[in-house]
Symmetry: C2
Subunit: 373 residues, 2 copies
């Protein structure tokens, strides 16, 4: 079995989510938090029920603060290293649901500096281009521009740097080496960068001039940042940020997350419908080598990325998902058929998304934090 390797910059191998919970020291999401979600927001979400968002720190505390009428906000972001794929959008869909249900602000950070510093061959122009391109995908999902504030690190550094040096003063090199896997050959920009991502947790309080409790919906690999943020928050006079962590949408090959570095196994928003169709039809599955064997032995949806697509993004109905699971398991559903049905869901989604992101081009200014604060 491949070794698992999860840092904020690399997610490799088959991800063992229970092990990550142990390593990172976060809590598994329990029925209690889902119950509390229903109490606070009037409904829950399939991503919670199915434990796609599966781990947290103080998500329950956050919900209670919200119910108590305290000032709360959402914060997440994106490292603009290339075009967005479906896996990137997964946590944003949940984030939008939270914003809609709670009616609260979302602060969204595009970390162009991080991606410039990490990728040897990337220029500032390139990461800036990706940041503005990737914004379209966020806006296309329908976030409320009055409550959604987008910040781009390099251009908007004036909002963050004063906070970031206050953060940085509290964090030693040895802490960063231990948490982020930095070595002596890491460049000094990468070493400082976490200060910005952490400072963002405190920016809502600064901008609103009122203690603001922040919830960060994000993939689990980002946890090291929030651990530091929580450690130093009170000494800087800010509330500890709460977190809720998602699993990764798997790639269409065997094992591993959907990754930009294996473009044939990820569906990008820039893919043509034909490309997307081909990738889906070529996907690895949990099926048997032949239709005959599949009918006799049944498939294995638990290791099948096609089934994961339904589970994580393209089948919100729990009952129908269960039916599909058992139809596969019992050999009633063949992979070709299952893939075709998925194509019929993904392609319209992709087509509509492409239209919406075209329209989003005219609306970027409404979302930029610098136009509002």
């Amino acid at each position: 079995m491949e070794d698992m390797r999860v840092t904020p910059w690399e997610v490799e191998g088959i991800v063992d989510y229970s092990k990550l919970v142990e390593i990172f020291g976060v809590k598994l999401l329990s029925d209690r938090e889902i119950e509390l979600t229903r109490e606070a927001l009037g409904e829950d979400h399939y991503m919670l029920r199915r434990r796609i968002f599966y781990a947290h720190r103080d998500y329950d505390v956050f919900l209670r603060l919200y119910m108590d009428g305290r000032r709360v906000a959402l914060y997440t972001g994106r490292g603009p290293s290339g075009p967005v794929h479906l896996g990137h959008m997964l946590p944003w869909i949940f984030t939008k649901w939270l914003q809609d249900r709670m009616g609260i602000e979302l602060y969204f950070e595009y970390t162009d500096d991080e991606k410039f510093l990490y990728h040897r061959e990337y220029s500032l122009d390139l990461v800036r281009k990706y940041a503005y391109d990737n914004m379209l995908d966020l806006i296309a999902l329908g976030f409320d521009p009055r409550k959604t504030h987008i910040l781009v690190d390099i251009e908007d550094i004036g909002y963050l740097y004063g906070l970031a040096v206050r953060v940085a003063k509290k964090v030693t090199l040895s802490t960063m080496k231990a948490l982020m896997g930095f070595t002596d050959s890491t460049n000094i920009g990468m070493v400082f960068y976490p200060s910005l991502q952490i400072a963002m947790c405190f920016l809502p309080t600064e901008l609103r001039n009122e203690q603001t409790h922040v919830l960060i919906p994000a993939a689990i690999d980002q946890d090291p940042y929030w651990r530091v943020a929580r450690d130093i928050a009170s000494s800087l006079g800010y509330p500890k940020p709460a977190q809720i962590h998602a699993k990764f949408l798997p790639g269409l090959g065997p094992g591993g997350k959907m990754s930009s570095s294996k473009p044939e196994t990820a569906i990008f928003v820039t893919d043509s419908l034909e490309e997307a169709r081909k990738k889906l039809m070529d996907a690895f599955t949990g099926g048997q080598p032949t239709a005959k064997m599949q009918r006799e032995l049944g498939g294995n949806p638990d290791v099948c990325p096609v089934f994961k697509y339904y589970e994580m993004m393209f089948e919100e109905d729990d009952e129908k998902l269960r039916e599909r699971y058992w139809a596969c398991k019992t050999g009633k559903l063949l992979c070709g058929e299952c893939k075709l049905e998925l194509v019929e869901r993904v392609l319209p989604f992709l087509e509509r998304h492409k239209e919406l992101r075209e329209k989003a081009k005219e609306r970027v200014e409404e979302f930029l934090l610098r136009n509002k604060f």
Copy 2:
């Protein structure tokens, strides 16, 4: 003998300037460069003749570029960690002479982030207050506001951060550890900060959108920054900065530079005339224990901070300085008399400076880079 310790953050012990030249690998200023100065600027300066500015990198190249009509500029700065003392002003006086003779721009950086990050107990408010306070001392020296552009790191980070990440990407942690003495217990803000001080070397080229050759007049302890700047300049597409390095004005006690951490041995611009007089009259000297012995054996101006004050700041006339030297050596001049004469020079300078810095309060805006670019 005390150990010498010279890093950009600490200068301790008796400074051995020849050793520093060796350690840092800079060139001693020779008669050739002074000759070239006269050729380029029509005159030289006592700080060159007396080797107060005593070491350099490419100062000669810089003068030739100036004579060839290439675009050149000056850059220096100040870490605003407290009130300014005479030792801080020494290189500024020479810098002003360069600006006046050459008619070129000076970019001046107040590194409030650096001082906040270095001093455990300092707040952002405090370093900001010092930055604006210390500006008055610069402006009071008579710099031309049309050609002098002041930048404060935290407030003006928008001008620097994009450049700084390009710098940071070229500099590894191990380089910084070796050059700056950082350890694993250094905070990550300090580790990144050099990127900003280095980025400033390239800012004139960016702002003027034309290759600009920069000369940095600064105390010798700042050399590690410029070494890195020179190493990476061409790979970033900028001219290598040239440097010219000053010795430190000594403190009024025995040995060591004038230091804010030994306030009784430094003359601050905030000192009352009475305080300044007392510090000067109480100064350590190279004299004999008694007047009788002094008359018989003579004094030692070479180790005397009072003589250094004349040499470095308060006696521009070479002939008169030589007379004072020999009058001391031969016992004709007693320390009390010599100190009294110094008081008569320092106090009027200080009094006038206090007036000028009061007037400077109304002129700060004319100097701020952000009001011009």
